[in-house]
């Protein structure tokens, strides 16, 4: 598990649902096919209404046209991040686009679970609301040992909650790796 993650922030609002993260029309790609999987990166966050794309300004594309990767490695969300459809394509799409961590006030449970069990990205919880404090494009440094995210652009530091119960699964890299470590399923 990476203990330090640096990257630029992409700021989103409250109740970001998985249809916004990856719109249904792109779900016909098969994530198990390496060539098709890349397209989830291309269309990540493309369902967000234009005015809310990259707060506070809006109209900031998460992934440029025809690209597969985003320049933003850290997503900042508000309340109830990842609500709605259970599609695992959502954390997968963010990860394919290059996201390594989301920091939100709290998560819809299936998104959180998919992120952890699939080992796609770190779903971290902020102690305070960061949506109005961090701006899209800010340079961030997450330090999990210290339990903080530093805003290098604005010279501020914000606390992050410990991962709690799911830490062993996150450390193992997902539910399969965890089950192998604990002897629940046979080694590969």
């Amino acid at each position: 598990m990476e203990m330090v993650i640096t990257g630029r922030a992409y700021v989103m609002g409250d109740n970001i649902d998985t249809d916004q993260i990856i719109p249904a029309q792109f779900l016909s790609y098969n994530p198990s096919d390496p060539e098709e999987r890349k397209y989830f990166g291309r269309y990540a966050n493309s369902g967000v209404p234009d005015g809310q794309m990259g707060l506070p300004d809006g109209n900031i594309r998460f992934v440029p046209d025809n690209a597969f990767r985003s320049e933003y490695a850290i997503v900042i969300g508000g309340k109830n991040f990842g609500c709605g459809s259970s599609r695992e394509h959502a954390p997968l799409a963010l990860a394919e686009a290059g996201v390594r961590a989301v920091i939100a006030e709290f998560y819809a449970r299936i998104f959180f679970r998919n992120s952890v069990n699939g080992g796609y990205l770190l779903p971290l919880e902020s102690v305070e609301r960061l949506v109005e404090v961090i701006q899209t494009g800010d340079e961030l440094r997450i330090d999990l040992n210290a339990g903080v995210v530093e805003n290098l652009t604005r010279k501020s530091t914000h606390k992050i909650n410990p991962l709690g119960d799911v830490l062993p699964i996150v450390e193992a890299g997902g539910v399969f790796a965890y089950a192998r470590q604990t002897g629940m399923i046979a080694a590969k």
């Binding site: 029309q25 016909s28 369902g47 259970s86 590969k188």
Partner: protein
């Protein structure tokens, strides 16, 4: 020791413990795992990657595969995904698979079934699961779809999971769950003619918010719930996820048992009741006689208002369908409002399952088998000017751009479906009002959001529809 709620009792039993408390992490044995065409291919990929190319599922009689999402589209990738399911079902020797037999491998838009009683295709998974006998009190059902919680109406623990979790269960028959605290929603009185369960759940979500039940179980109880048809209870539990709930659950009564006895493909099950001293996270009470027809305005299921407050909202389209509002009783409700009249706006009707579609042809407006000189529900809807599409998820989740009823431009639609987040039904600038089938039908007649009390004069009987 405090007593347990229904959800706690099921999780205790399935994890081999005498007692669990909210917050406990437990490994449980899963009774049934369902997947469909959108999440199946990814799940199957992970399953083989993790357990090996030759791996077999833990129990081939407990895996149910129901293609339903992207069926009526010319998108070749969608047909390919159905083929991935077929290959997996064959290789694994799975017992329960409901094939869209009209998808032949020919490129282009498939020719839909002609007779809904003569296809192996079933339509929307959450409707098909109980119809085909995969839903029983006391069991644990997982599905790769967030609305798997629908089956809680039958007194079981049912919840949605992602591909990785599903692949893990495919190989092991197990999953880990954190025991949720339970919120209790108690309804008193008898459901009035102008309300359906959709109004109740929109009121609940409107009150507690789209995150109001996050990580929790929602328990719907009281004589008001007893007065609902089983199908209407499914509307309640279906939308538990729209409040962030892990599951929704109802008590088991004679209505539940009549249906399950007739359908279940396993002969026995456990009826689980709450303990008298069960502890609840919170309790909410409603009196059905004081409730009014509700809508959820764009763009969130908790953006509640009374239908009558939105009479000025001009609509471009109406949509009746999905696992929430495409059941046979929903169709009967709508048909009784639309009978003998003409819709003013484009109105799509998408049966929730092929069984619903067959019943629309077989039953009359009172929900009983029609005489040869009587009109069927489908006749009434078609006469009113509705467009009737073949069964499936359809435009409920937008889907590929050629999906029938999809909102391909920034229009305003009233819908009996479950979500109205931006872009859910297509264009992210479109606005969706969620409402009961009664309200959708009344609004289709006026072209504006309309309180069904303008049309409902007496209780609409649904007869034997959806009863057994």
């Amino acid at each position: 020791m405090p007593g347990m709620t229904i959800t706690e009792k099921i999780l205790a039993k399935k994890s081999g413990r005498s007692h669990v408390r909210p917050g406990d992490n437990v490994w449980v044995n899963v009774d049934v795992l369902m997947t469909h065409d959108v999440c199946g291919p990814g799940t199957i990929g992970i399953f083989h990657e993790e357990f090996g190319k030759e791996a077999k599922v833990w129990d081939r009689d407990r895996v149910v595969v129901i293609p339903d999402h992207y069926i009526f589209t010319a998108d070749g990738k969608c047909h390919r995904n159905v083929q991935i399911l077929r290959d997996f079902v064959k290789a694994q020797g799975l017992k329960y698979y409901y094939d869209p037999d009209f998808i032949t491998g020919e490129p282009g838009f498939p020719n839909p079934y002609k007779d809904p009683t003569k296809t192996s295709y079933k339509g929307v998974c959450h409707k098909a699961l109980p119809e085909e006998g995969h839903v029983r009190p006391g069991e644990i059902l997982l599905g790769t779809d967030s609305h798997t919680c629908t089956a809680g109406a039958f007194g079981q623990f049912a919840t949605g999971v992602g591909n990785t979790d599903a692949a893990f269960t495919l190989g092991t028959g197990k999953t880990w769950l954190k025991v949720p605290a339970t919120m209790k929603f108690k309804f008193h009185g008898e459901i009035p003619a102008y309300l359906t369960a959709k109004d109740l759940i929109l009121a609940v979500i409107g009150q507690i918010g789209v995150d109001g039940a996050t990580y929790r179980s929602m328990y719907f109880t009281g004589d008001g719930i007893g007065s609902l048809t089983l199908e209407d209870r499914m509307t309640l539990t279906n939308m538990a996820i729209e409040a962030g709930g892990k599951n929704g659950v109802c008590d088991v009564d004679d209505k539940t048992l009549a249906y399950v006895r007739n359908r279940s493909n396993v002969p026995t099950w456990d009826i689980v009741e709450e303990d008298a001293n069960a502890e609840y996270h919170s309790t909410f009470e409603w009196d059905l006689s004081t409730m009014e027809p509700m809508v959820a305005k764009p763009h969130s299921p908790d953006n509640k208002d009374l239908a009558r407050n939105c009479r000025h909202v001009k609509l471009d389209q109406a949509y009746l369908g999905s696992c929430t509002g495409g059941k046979i009783t929903d169709m009967i409700f709508a048909a009784n409002i639309l009978k003998g009249q003409k819709v003013k706006i484009k109105t799509w009707v998408v049966p929730g399952s092929t069984e619903v579609h067959a019943d629309m042809k077989r039953l009359n407006l009172r929900g009983v088998p029609k005489d040869s000189n009587e009109k069927s529900i489908e006749d009434v809807l078609a006469d009113a000017g509705c467009d009737i599409a073949p069964s499936g998820c359809g435009a409920c989740l937008g889907g590929p751009p050629d999906t029938m009823g999809r909102l391909n431009s920034p229009i305003t639609c009233i819908s009996s479906t479950n979500r109205n987040f931006p872009g859910r039904m297509g264009d992210k600038r479109a606005g969706v009002y969620l409402a009961s089938p009664l309200t959708v039908a009344a609004s289709a007649l006026t072209g504006y959001v309309t309180d069904p009390r303008e049309y409902v004069t007496h209780k609409i009987e649904t007869g034997t529809a959806g009863v057994v």
